[in-house]
Symmetry: none
Subunit: 186 residues, 2 copies
């Protein structure tokens, strides 16, 4: 897993990466985490060996799990309608479900549960290049996908589309519930 990898440089890189991802300044992050910005500055510069408390508070302030700060980084619209079984099924022995997407070893996938209501057309700016979003509709209907070519999804429908271009989420029914898996490349 993480073996004897040197955590020093990893932390420095992770801090800067996650901070920029959150879109906040060094000063602001230091304030939120309740640490001196000088400390944070040194950490991001690679000069450090922070205490657990310090790094922990940074993790909390960034909204990322602790382990993401210390473990090293590794590196068009596809729709599957409810009932349309894609050829592949799980080979995993005793399990029989529809395999919607296979994870990569070089990506990170976060799972979200999102409730949407009509009227609020949510425009999402591009995320980091290479990111992919997977959406499965649990309840209601949504129109989602790249801003250029959104698709309409009904319960059980699945769609995957690039997250690194502007894309939209729009509920077409009240109380719409979707499962969203966001995939970020390393």
């Amino acid at each position: 897993m993480d073996r004897t990898a040197p955590p020093l440089a990893t932390i420095a890189a992770a801090l800067r990466r996650e901070r920029e991802r959150a879109g906040i300044s060094l000063t602001e992050l230091a304030r939120r985490a309740g640490i001196a910005k000088s400390t944070l500055s040194q950490l991001e510069a690679g000069a450090g060996n922070p205490s657990v408390e310090t790094l922990w508070s940074l993790g909390v302030a960034l909204g990322v799990p602790f382990s993401r700060l210390v473990e090293p980084p590794t590196p068009a619209v596809r729709v599957i309608r409810a009932g349309e079984a894609p050829g592949i099924r799980s080979e995993q022995a005793d399990f029989t479900g529809i395999l919607l997407s296979v994870g990569s070893r070089h990506a990170r996938r976060d799972i979200y549960l999102v409730e949407l209501d009509p009227g609020a057309l949510r425009k999402a700016e591009a995320h980091i290049p290479g990111s992919v979003e997977h959406m499965i509709v649990a309840r209601g209907r949504v129109r989602t996908g790249p801003a250029a070519e959104p698709v309409e999804l009904r319960p059980g429908d699945y769609a995957a589309f690039p997250g690194d271009v502007e894309h939209v989420y729009e509920a077409l029914e009240p109380d719409t519930l979707v499962v969203l898996v966001m995939e970020h490349p390393d």
Copy 2:
């Protein structure tokens, strides 16, 4: 997940637990990790706030991933009920959903859509060690989790549980639909 929990006590407990699991003495562990035994003694006593380097070398010496020393032991089943917003939401600019689970760089996550019907109690044998299953109920009700302590989930509920022990899926209503994310370590 790890929230604002104080890591101090967690580390102390984790160190003692893992060390006893390895069956080595405090002195011996300190020697292997290349740190003073006094330091280790204080850490296990809960008095501390170790530097990352120190804790890292302990993790290496114990042969356990770093995160196991700082994150509280994962309960067999972690459930997030529909409507129960877990502390942190995505700060990702324009996105506001409930963050159910954060992906690791050292795991692969596959996304499944599963339809279940009552009566078929599905017992799943243990998968490869370290695998984790994430389930979000889209429609209907299911009873799932480790065979020892299953939980009942309703639409919108989320549960994560270890996949490396025997676990069950059971639909409690007809036409039950769940999104299942299977996570395999590398």
